[in-house]
């Protein structure tokens, strides 16, 4: 059992949950009202689907179907091996139809925009495999719940896409103190979570309760921004209802209204807001007795457990001024973006930019032919007038507004200076790795400096430098060990009588591995002296023979 988690569990037992002040943050215009005017709509079945498989690597995917095969709705098509330790995510067919091909295609996904996709030509009959919902889902054990969530292929619906089942079982058996259901949805334009709560509050809360049971958490907290009165009222109605059935299933669930501020929904900031605890940078919330799930995940869990329905659709916000009727869609996974834009009446005469996610952390889509993935929470067709105008970057005047709004309490102005000076050690020292890339600094910068892009680039550069260093160290060690081994074998072959203790001493790496601390200082210094002597001998031998290595010759020229 993880000691840290046990200590923190103890620490939290007395913790009260309320919305605390968090550092930094911005309050941009939200533009949320447009897509909230109508109810969540389901789309007609598109003629073509490109079902993303979650990776571009063929090796990470096990396919159960092949080109030309007919599949039914809910049928398991493939399994993505998401991490080397054996965890995987199943992928299901959103509707019935014929598989035309399996190929690389553009996907509206936060992590990878080019993935292997199953191209499905739908037949419109929507013929489904019979689902097998449990007789009484309240009787399911924790392990059964987790396995059902896994089989439904549920991933984090907020955008990260981490396999939900894996997260639920990451407590190593100790259980959690808190399950936090993240309904903050602080980024502009996105309303998917708000719409779900507004219209399906009961299902969502039941899903949250199921997640709580599946994670063995003591308390479940739904955190929602104060700017969503409709959703708050919908939740209140159920949580404070006097009906016995409701109170029985929602006994462990409470709602906390948090201030509207971006990025209030960032996981670690949200935890600090609710519990007052800062999760140490080198740990996960799950190491500290806290598990956070998006409210969309709770809804998907509800469907998976009570109906046995795998994750084949998601609620996605469609908005932006280029759309005539922005709204939330319950869209099948694999639906193409342009299909959804057409449903919202896109003004195709005008130029627009298509963005995946909100306007502060989103990506510009490479193509409108992209297919939506399980993590695609929002698609924006934005007119140029509603986005930031392109103003050339000016000099940093060190006004420090960026530091005032940075939720990680970093100093973007200093990080920028060190980026320009190409000083990776100071960048690391100033916490570049702790940047959550929320874009608040960019938003307020009076000089219009692309801070987040600069930081992302540098993060990536430092990471790859670190990786290559580690790799070269590893191979250098391997090479030195090989040289040593070859030499030793040669020595052994020459000497008739091998001296056993000396041999171990002369092989420090191995000796240390087997019996740590067995080599004394004196022995170590002897070894070093011997090694130096060997190198000297080799050098003098080489110089004596008069054959210079070719590389040196090349250098001299």
């Amino acid at each position: 059992v993880n000691i840290a988690s046990r200590i923190s569990t103890k620490f939290f037992s007395s913790a009260t949950v309320f919305a605390r002040k968090t550092f930094g943050g911005i309050q941009p215009p939200t533009h949320k009202e447009h897509s909230l005017r109508s109810q969540i709509m389901s789309t007609p079945i598109p003629a073509q689907l490109s079902i993303p498989l979650g990776s571009r690597e063929q090796e990470q995917i096990t396919l159960f179907v092949e080109t030309g095969e007919r599949v039914c709705k809910y049928q398991k098509l493939a399994v993505l091996h998401s991490s080397p330790d054996g965890s995987n995510i199943p992928v299901h067919a959103p509707t019935s139809g014929m598989i035309t091909s399996i190929e690389q295609s553009c996907v509206a996904d936060h992590s990878e925009q080019h993935q292997l996709c199953i191209k499905l030509t739908t037949d419109g009959s929507d013929e489904a495999v019979t689902l097998a919902p449990p007789a009484d889902y309240t009787q399911l054990s924790r392990a059964e719940l987790i396995s059902k969530i896994h089989d439904a292929g549920i991933v984090g619906m907020g955008g990260a896409g981490f396999p939900t089942a894996e997260k639920l079982s990451s407590d190593r058996g100790a259980g959690f103190e808190f399950l936090i259901i993240n309904a903050a949805e602080c980024e502009p334009y996105i309303t998917a979570d708000e719409a779900i709560i507004r219209e399906r509050a009961e299902k969502v809360l039941l899903g949250a309760e199921l997640l709580r049971q599946a994670s063995n958490a003591q308390r479940c907290i739904v955190a929602i921004e104060e700017s969503k009165p409709d959703a708050i009222n919908a939740l209140k109605e159920i949580l404070h209802a006097d009906g016995q059935a409701a109170s029985e299933s929602q006994r462990h669930c409470e709602m906390v209204i948090i201030p509207s501020k971006y990025p209030a929904g960032s996981e670690r900031q949200l935890i600090q807001c609710l519990t007052g605890k800062e999760i140490p940078a080198d740990q996960h919330p799950t190491d500290n007795g806290i598990i956070v799930h998006n409210i969309g995940t709770a809804y998907a869990t509800f469907e998976a457990i009570t109906e046995g329905k795998p994750c084949i659709s998601r609620i996605t916000t469609l908005c932006g001024q280029a759309l005539k009727t922005p709204k939330n869609f319950e869209a099948l996974i694999g639906t193409h973006v342009d299909f959804l834009f057409d449903l919202c009446g896109i003004d195709s005469g005008k130029n627009h930019k298509s963005i995946l996610g909100g306007t502060l952390m989103g990506f510009e889509l490479a193509s409108e032919k992209a297919a939506i993935s399980k993590t695609c929470n929002c698609l924006i067709a934005a007119n140029d007038s509603e986005l930031r105008e392109h103003i050339p970057e000016q000099a940093c005047i060190r006004c420090g507004y960026c530091a005032e709004v940075c939720p990680a309490r970093l100093l973007p102005q200093q990080l920028l200076a060190f980026s320009k000076a190409d000083d990776p050690s100071q960048l690391t020292n100033h916490g570049l790795a702790d940047c959550i890339e929320c874009g608040a600094c960019d938003y307020v910068c009076p000089s219009h400096i692309p801070l987040v892009s600069t930081f992302k680039e540098n993060k990536y550069a430092i990471q790859s430098r670190q990786n290559s260093l580690e790799r070269s160290d590893y191979w250098q060690q391997r090479f030195q060990y090989r040289q040593y081994r070859v030499k030793k074998e040669k020595d052994q072959a020459q000497s008739k009588k091998p001296d056993l203790p000396k041999k171990i001493a002369a092989h420090p790496a191995k000796a240390q591995q087997e019996q740590p601390g067995i080599i004394s200082k004196a022995q170590a210094s002897r070894d070093i002296a011997a090694a130096v002597a060997r190198v000297k001998a080799r050098r003098s031998e080489r110089d004596g023979s008069g054959n210079e290595p070719p590389s040196k010759k090349g250098r001299d020229r």
């Binding site: 060190r398 530091a403 987040v452 260093l469």
Partner: protein
């Protein structure tokens, strides 16, 4: 990292440097108007000269450095430097003095160090300090406008002018006052050189704190007795009103969140605490009341407008507090124990010296680091 260009965030607050600088200029307005009221047109003439030369210097430097001249000229930062500098220079200074100082500020203190955002020292204060060292006499005389208009007053044994009640009062804002101010700034245009020379030599007086520094107890007493009401157009009390006007402008800057409260508050608090500690009525005049130290000289404009210049100040929250304390300490020390006549410029320049190191060492704790253990740096830097 998937090979696609990411432009996020796609939204922006609309902040920009030009707007920022414009608000600063706007907040300087009450103080400038107060100066105009008390000291006449000298300050306006200074501002006009300084802005003209600042624009010429800025434009030619941008051109020489091959920068995008139109975009950078419109950021209004040179304008703010010029106005701050013009305010600091005594009204009625000859035009070449103002021009020399502002050209030095823009060319040497700003552009030779790399232009906007790169200058380690506040350009306006660099220009001012250079003038103060090179032309101490011209830089410490503040003309009493009344006298400019109506001719010299009798002076008592301590050098304090004696105003007899019956003397005719002439507004420095009158046409005649304007003409006199112009003649002081452009002495070559005077029809009768002798008159101007006379003003230059005989009619100048120092700012209250400089004067108190030079004078003994009796001068302080005389000053408080002759001090009349706050709104009388007597240069001694003028300083109070001017400081209050700058304070109002500064508070508006705070309200608009152009500056944070850290630097002004720590400077004012430090000066207040020191002057309260060392307050010694009846001894040497310079150990005056906290009120004298806060409102008797350029403390307010220094604390709100000059020390908060973001480029040369410390930028971290704890760093700003320490920076303000350093400046407050320096202001008081230079004023009371130092040999220079002006303290604000040197104190701020000294603060500028310390700012980079403050930014490195006075850092906020990064989120998720050392909340309980107390270590600040996340990890050992990568090799």
């Amino acid at each position: 990292m998937n090979g696609l260009k990411t432009d996020a965030p796609f939204q922006h607050s609309g902040n920009n440097i030009a707007q920022l600088m414009q608000t600063v200029l706007l907040c300087l307005l009450p103080g400038i108007l107060a100066s105009l009221w008390f000291f006449g047109f000298g300050i306006i003439i200074n501002i006009v000269i300084a802005i003209s030369f600042a624009m010429i210097a800025e434009a030619s430097m941008l051109k020489l450095r091959g920068r995008d001249f139109r975009a950078q000229l419109s950021d209004r930062s040179a304008l703010v430097t010029a106005v701050l500098f013009a305010i600091a220079v005594p009204p009625g200074s000859p035009w070449w003095l103002v021009a020399l100082g502002i050209v030095f500020a823009i060319v040497v203190a700003k552009h030779l160090y790399g232009g906007l955002g790169q200058n380690p020292f506040n350009p306006a204060m660099c220009g001012y300090a250079m003038l103060l060292l090179a032309f101490p006499l011209e830089m410490t005389g503040w003309h009493i406008p009344n006298e400019i208009v109506r001719g010299p007053l009798a002076v008592d044994s301590l050098g304090i002018p004696i105003v007899t009640p019956g003397q005719e009062f002439l507004s420095p804002l009158s046409w005649r006052g304007f003409k006199q101010a112009l003649l002081l700034s452009f002495p070559f245009a005077a029809s009768n050189d002798f008159d101007v020379k006379q003003f230059m030599d005989g009619l100048a007086m120092a700012t209250p704190l400089i004067e108190f520094k030079m004078a003994g107890t009796s001068a302080l007493l005389a000053a408080s007795e002759s001090g009349a009401s706050l709104f009388a157009r007597e240069s001694k009390t003028a300083w109070e009103i001017i400081n209050i006007a700058y304070l109002c402008g500064g508070l508006f800057l705070l309200y608009k969140r152009i500056i944070s409260w850290h630097i002004p508050l720590s400077i004012i608090a430090t000066v207040f605490v020191l002057s309260a500690l060392f307050y010694a009525p009846g001894s040497v005049a310079i150990y005056g009341t906290p009120y004298l130290h806060l409102f008797g000289s350029a403390t307010m404009i220094g604390a709100f407008f000059i020390a908060t210049d973001p480029v040369s100040a410390a930028t971290t929250r704890p760093g700003k507090l320490v920076y303000g304390i350093i400046i407050g300490l320096s202001i008081y020390s230079i004023r009371v124990w130092g040999s220079y006549l002006d303290s604000i410029a040197f104190a701020i320049l000294f603060g500028n010296f310390c700012a980079p190191i403050l930014d490195l060492y006075c850092r906020p704790r990064i989120f998720g680091h050392g909340a309980h253990s107390g270590s600040r740096t996340p990890e050992e830097p990568a090799k």
